[in-house]
Amino acid sequence: MNQLMSGNEAIARGAYEWGVTFAAAYPGTPSTEITQEFSRYDGVYAEWSPNEKIALEAAIGAALAGADAMAVMKHVGVNVAADPLFTVSYTGTNGGLVIVAADDPSMHSSQNEQDSRHYARAAKIPMLEPADSDEARRFIKAAFALSRRFDTPVFLRSTTRVSHSKSVVAPEEPDARRETRQYVKDPAKYVMVPGMARGRRVVVQERMSALRDFAESFAENVMELNGNEAGIITAGMTYNYAREACPDYSFLKLGMVHPLPEKMIREFASKVKKLYVVEELDPFIEEQVRAMGIEVTGKELFPYNNEFDPGIIERSITGKSRAFAVPDLPGLPDRPPNLCPGCPHRGLFYVLGKLGVFVTGDIGCYTLSFMKPLEGLDSCICMGASIGMAHGMSKTLGRGDAVVGVIGDSTFVHSGIASLLNLAYNRSNAVIVICDNRTTAMTGMQDHPGTGVTLQGQTTKKLDFEALARALGIDNVRVINPFDLKETRTVLKEELASDGPSLIVARGACALLKSKESPKKPPLMVDVDRCIGCKLCLDVGCPAISWRPFDSLPPGSTVSKRRRKQEGIALIDVSVCNGCGVCQQLCKPGAIVEVETHA
């Protein structure tokens, strides 16, 4: 029966239908749900690996052992996995190996907008790109078929809009069990020392040539002829936007974006008077079409940055927008995402902001604390960068200027451990804080080695951050409760003053994590008869706390001034507050009280 599925659910479904038995991934928006959904199918093995390099290496091993295996990651994860990626292209795969890479045009939840298609070209690996959920289901199967047939790793590229849109899918029964390929020792194929890699380099070139021929007849490269006035070459989600914006044009929709079907492109170009390439991000197809000597219009009209929609394409071609313009529209306050009420990061970053130190940050919810009013974080580059950068800054600035590096628990496992070792080995004075909220929060509560539970729910060895830090050679290892402002401030100051590298584990469970580690506390409220309107509680930027000037209070309100200069009162929304108590520690007149106590 037809079902609505997200692109990510459909990729998982397709992998199951094909008979994939092994998947490894590190969570990353917009790719996370692929591995999560896949892990729930019968008879499959799926894991969260510490990072994408390890996930790909595990999948390579599973494929060499004869399985059909996939490694799943977001676009920046491919950077982490790039080392094995470029060489598994040489060795080939034995079983099927597919790398699912999900790009994030518009950077909905990413630090950059890189275009993974370049990796396919650079690593000499074919790449398929679906346009909707049912294609996602079919294309992952086509990718495995290609991998087995050509003994090559294959990329499946998604984008946020494919991964997170839902559309109609027609699921099929799983294929009959495919024969597992036996592993055969073959040093010339699998031991990539220079002498043997040179031989495999030739094989790669021959394989790319064979794949170019294959692309010409690949059933998912489709020509839709609709008059000869204008034609669009496109792929993936952009096809849908263009198809809707330009229903009267002809289309060459590429299911395979690397390598390109040159003969097909030449034939299509010869059938239309005006040829466009419409693609999000880089002019990847356009430049190759132009290099074929074909006249084409692309990035001179269509944007390089951000994802498209039908309106952007229509406007780029016609110069006109159909956006509804209302002249007297009032200006609107922004609504940026915020740390949740009860978030363990709030207390820590309040203290860091007040200390005035340079804080190298990392990838996680806590990155949001760069904003007002916390302003407790000063850089964000990539997973793990905080520790390396804090080390480099500390070495450069010397003793007087304090530097703190902050990193989440999952991010620390991903790529902070080797950097912490560097701090210990090369001795700098940086203070590193692991914001240990007991989960991978930003991608939606995934487990990791520090939680002691696997993706498929098995209890396992739990990583001990303190013992690890000591083993790496960090002498000063402290644990703090980030909800306790005084303790947090004291320990940070002590470690900033101490010699040598320090590691502080700020341990407090994520407010969204429903577990024994975060028992529910009663919400707090403002005793309006005690509030002096000092606004100190607003400094923690909690969504539950709001400022009400006296003139905004409802008529008949009995609230009165307690200080001559008082302009209003703070209020806590008890339906949102989870009683973490951070604001309470700032309230000098003791006006923030537990709801029960007061009643």
């Binding site: 037809n2 939840s109 559309s167 198809r243 809707e244 039908p310 922004d334 940026p336 930003m442 400022w547």
Partner: protein, 193 residues
């Protein structure tokens, strides 16, 4: 260049208001009524307290999961001010359903900016088909304030050609059993608006 056969409903509001679930339920109703569907929203980042929008497009054949600006037929806004953020997606004939409730963004909470005044009046001046309701209060009366999204679905259903029975069937199947009765009551109260 306008594909007139595709209908678009845009659900907007603030993270945590049940917008994604409401748009999932609506999509399932339209799927069962025999339409092709595409639906899209943005996940990721800490969406709590941030803007959330979900495009649902249905028709004989739908290509794009995102609507062109000017093309949205019905805007279902779960928060008063958020209505204005998406005005450019509408046209003079669009219908607008507004939950007359405010959720302050941080800058308003901190007293740095005012919350815009007379939003419902503004919308009524520019659009003919407007329904304004206190969905959260209505949901509370039906048993739980968190069913405001079901109340909004009820109001939306009155604009739809799809028979009421499809909506209720999907509510019964997609919601946990013990919540169905109150949600049907919440749906009915919204539909009567």
């Amino acid at each position: 260049m306008h594909n007139s056969k595709v209908n678009t409903v845009l659900f907007v509001g603030v993270g945590g208001q049940g917008i994604i679930l409401a748009s999932d339920i609506f999509s399932e109703v339209m799927l069962r009524a025999g339409f092709d569907i595409k639906k899209s929203e943005v996940h990721g980042m800490a969406q709590r307290g941030g803007c959330v929008s979900s495009h649902v497009r249905y028709g004989e054949k739908v290509f794009s999961p995102l609507a062109n600006k000017g093309d949205v037929d019905i805007l279902v806004s779960f928060e008063r001010m958020e209505t204005l953020r998406y005005i450019d997606y509408l046209n003079v004939e669009s219908a607008v359903v507004i939950n007359d409730e405010e959720v302050f963004p941080p800058s308003v909470n901190l007293g740095d900016e005012p919350y815009p005044a007379d939003i419902t009046g503004f919308v009524q001046r520019h659009f003919q088909r407007v329904k304004i309701l206190k969905a959260t209060d209505m949901a509370r009366n039906a048993g739980d304030a968190r069913m405001a999204n079901t109340v909004m679905l009820g109001t939306l259903s009155a604009f739809s050609e799809v028979d009421e029975s499809y909506w209720k069937e999907v509510l019964r199947e997609m919601l946990p059993k013990h919540l169905v009765r109150n949600n049907i009551a919440a749906f009915d109260s919204g539909r009567r608006i």
